[in-house]
């Protein structure tokens, strides 16, 4: 019996040992202020490694650690649950960002001096992402993306095709391309998220930027606002591959790179993937001409990467120093070169060549945010669009869109209504 208890004691010790090993595993204390940055762009890891190195060489008192995890949102969320928040997070300007603000996770950084160099347009886009008007600035827009239509420049030149500027011109061009036996578009709609690329492009010109907020306030419905957008999506199918949900994003990139189609409706982020198949390809892009009124057409561009300081960051000044460093012109340019991105900072930067066709819009700030930045991811609008494209019934789709929207945004709509009524009573 004595032996029995001994072994049990041993097992208990073993388990205890497990715990204590962890306890001892803590890092050595150092006098430097530590700043940890976690971002969601693993594809830019080489850039961030370089920045980390340069920052730590030039800063004696701050130690910067940047991690670029895969599936960063899951990693971030599990870290939030663990109450093990990093100091700075690099995320996109989309629904998660709105949620984080709403949940009180982010620090108000209105006093950060670097904000004055950021283009007002992108600060406005960020402002618009708040569920209800809230005081404060919660992110520094760093890079924007631009979605439109990528095209095979050499193929266009050989055939003398012109860049279309209106919806009718686009359709005419597609007919021309079809006549020479080429496919106008390739589609990778097996990956449902890629359905959103043309959807966003069409919606930003055809629907108001505040559609989703207006719906939340009960002012309008998607059945009213999205009809043309949905119709255009359906129309474009006839210019794509027959089995449009058979191919994934990757397949579509490969096909476009191999010259199987003249155009591809996707963001500039696809260029590295396309070039990995065909490094010599000459790619350019133009704005999706959704409207027949040239003036109405805008470039779809939103905040692709921004830095937010977490609410419980103990060293605000050090975090600001990191942000300042990231915003240095040379670092901004380095990121642009690395990722074909559009800077959110004012200044004279060199854009990647495949953004040539969008330069004017970027310069004039004729841009509108992606509509899907307002969609909660669990609502799976992308999957709904795919369902619609297979089914083709616009009315049914938009009705479902309206119903699903209410269902998934119930708490939010309550919040907005409450805010509205409080606000009105204040005014009245």
């Amino acid at each position: 019996m004595l032996k029995g208890s001994k072994v049990i004691l041993f097992t208990a010790l073993l388990l205890l040992g497990c715990f204590s090993v962890v306890g001892c595993g803590k890092e050595k204390e150092s006098k430097k202020t530590k700043i940890e940055l976690v971002h969601y762009k693993p594809e830019a890891v080489s850039y961030f490694e370089e920045v980390e190195k340069k920052f730590n060489e030039s800063h004696k008192d701050i130690e910067l650690k940047i991690s670029s995890p895969n599936d960063a949102m899951t990693v971030l969320k599990t870290r939030f649950i663990r109450e093990d928040n990093p100091d700075i997070i690099g995320i996109g300007g989309e629904f998660n960002f709105s949620n984080f603000i709403d949940a009180g996770m982010l620090m108000d950084i209105s006093d950060f001096d670097g904000l004055k160099d950021i283009k007002q347009k992108y600060l406005d886009i960020n402002e618009n992402l708040k569920f209800v008007p809230t005081k404060g600035t919660y992110g520094v827009p760093y890079m924007a993306n631009a979605a439109g239509i990528l095209y095979n420049k050499d193929m266009f030149q050989e055939n003398g095709w012109q860049i279309p500027e209106t919806w009718d011109e686009l359709l005419a061009l597609c007919e021309k391309i079809k006549k020479v036996g080429k496919l106008p578009f390739y589609m990778g709609y097996k990956d449902i998220w890629s359905c959103l690329s043309p959807w966003n492009s069409a919606a930003s010109s055809l629907a108001d930027a505040t559609v989703c907020k207006d719906v939340n306030k009960g002012k309008t419905s998607f059945s009213k606002e999205y009809v043309t957008v949905a119709e255009q999506m359906k129309k474009l199918l006839s210019y794509g591959p027959k089995d449009f949900v058979a191919y994934s994003y990757n397949d579509a990139c490969t096909a476009f790179a191999r010259g199987e189609s003249a155009m591809y409706m996707i963001g500039s982020y696809a260029v590295p993937q396309i070039k990995s198949v065909n490094p010599d390809m000459n790619i350019d892009s133009f704005v999706y001409p959704a409207s027949n009124n040239k003036e109405e057409n805008v470039l779809t561009s939103g905040v692709d990467l921004q830095f937010c300081v977490m609410n419980d960051c103990p060293n605000k000044e050090a975090a600001y120093e990191v942000l300042r460093f990231l915003l240095k012109d040379e670092n901004v340019q380095a990121y642009m070169d690395n990722q074909n991105a559009v800077p959110c900072k004012e200044g004279d930067f060199t854009l990647a060549p495949m953004l040539d066709g969008m330069k004017e819009y970027i310069k004039e700030e004729k841009v509108t945010d992606f509509q899907d930045h307002f969609y909660p991811s669990e609502m799976a609008v992308d999957a709904m669009i795919q369902t619609y494209l297979l089914d083709g019934d616009t009315k049914k789709f938009l009705k479902k869109f309206d119903e699903t929207w209410v269902r998934y945004n119930r708490d939010l709509i309550d919040k907005v209504k409450k805010y509205e009524s409080e606000h009105q009573s204040e005014e009245g």
Binding site: F19, V22, E43, R82, D84, Y247, N250
Partner: protein
């Protein structure tokens, strides 16, 4: 039984059937050796042999996944889980197997543990993340403990079932000789359950080695296991399938080698588990 004639027709049929097993593996190998520029969206682009048989993809994949470190982590987690499972589950399996028939409390405990098999991981995930973090277990140890608990229902069932093959007289004899229950267990029961240890080791190894989700959510970001490192190849906007497949092969290699070496035991072991 007479040494009958071998059924050649059936043998040929079975060999032909192997195509269904080997064809997907052939695809993986071929894609793993190609360069992205060799890929086309057609049957030929996928099935043709690569232009050069070079190990570049594998070298690159090993660099990206930090292969040796990830392999080390995977091995550590898998081996520790196996050891702990054999130790802990055989004990509880023994106790419950011997007691559940005559004691309703133990029977209750048995049912309680076995019903754990049906709990979907999804519901445990978030609370487990929080809990392990609070206990300072957001690391490999936490993952190992989680696995030990996840596999407990199945393994307890296997061990306690297998126990019915071992006659009670075996322990009684030792008991009469004056050995304590504890000593009897280690001297007599534990060695006698060896076939079941093999089964448990194999099933646990298979379940642990390929798992992505548990280490992904429990360990904080900077430590990788081999399957976790595979995620490196899947950023949303670009997947290098050639590298990815090379890396899948690398991740499969250890478990396939393990399988080839202990093939006989594995098949016998799995069979054992079923016989109970």
């Amino acid at each position: 039984m007479k040494e009958g004639k071998k059924n050649i027709g059936l043998t040929i049929l079975l060999i032909l059937g192997l195509v269904t097993i080997l064809f997907p593996l052939y695809m993986t190998v071929v894609i793993a050796f190609k360069q992205p520029s060799e890929m086309t969206n057609s049957i030929r682009g996928i099935l043709s042999l690569p232009a050069h048989w070079s190990l570049d993809n594998f070298k690159e994949a090993m660099r990206v996944t930090d292969f040796w470190r990830s392999l080390g982590n995977s091995l550590f987690i898998t081996l520790a889980t196996i050891a702990l499972s054999i130790l802990v589950h055989s004990l509880i399996g023994y106790v419950l197997g011997r007691s559940k028939a005559k004691n309703k409390y133990y029977n209750g405990i048995y049912l309680y543990l076995v019903s754990g098999m049906f709990v979907p991981f999804a519901i445990l995930m978030m609370p487990l993340v929080k809990q392990t973090a609070h206990m300072g277990l957001a690391n490999e140890i936490g993952v190992i403990l989680c696995y030990t608990v996840f596999f407990m229902p199945m393994n307890t069932m296997l061990y306690s079932g297998y126990l019915s093959n071992l006659p009670l007289a075996l322990e009684e004899a030792a008991c009469v000789d004056g050995a304590s229950t504890w000593k009897t267990y280690w001297k007599i029961i534990f060695p006698n359950m060896r076939p079941m240890h093999a089964t448990v080791a194999i099933l646990t190894a298979l379940g642990t080695w390929n798992d992505v989700m548990t280490p992904l959510v429990i360990m904080s970001g900077d430590k990788n296991t081999l399957p976790l490192a595979q995620l490196n190849f899947q950023t949303q906007f670009g997947t290098n399938y050639n590298l990815a497949f090379a890396s899948y092969l690398l991740a499969l290699l250890p478990i396939v080698i393990f399988y080839i070496i202990c093939q006989k035991q594995i098949i016998a072991g799995v069979a054992n588990g079923a016989v109970k």
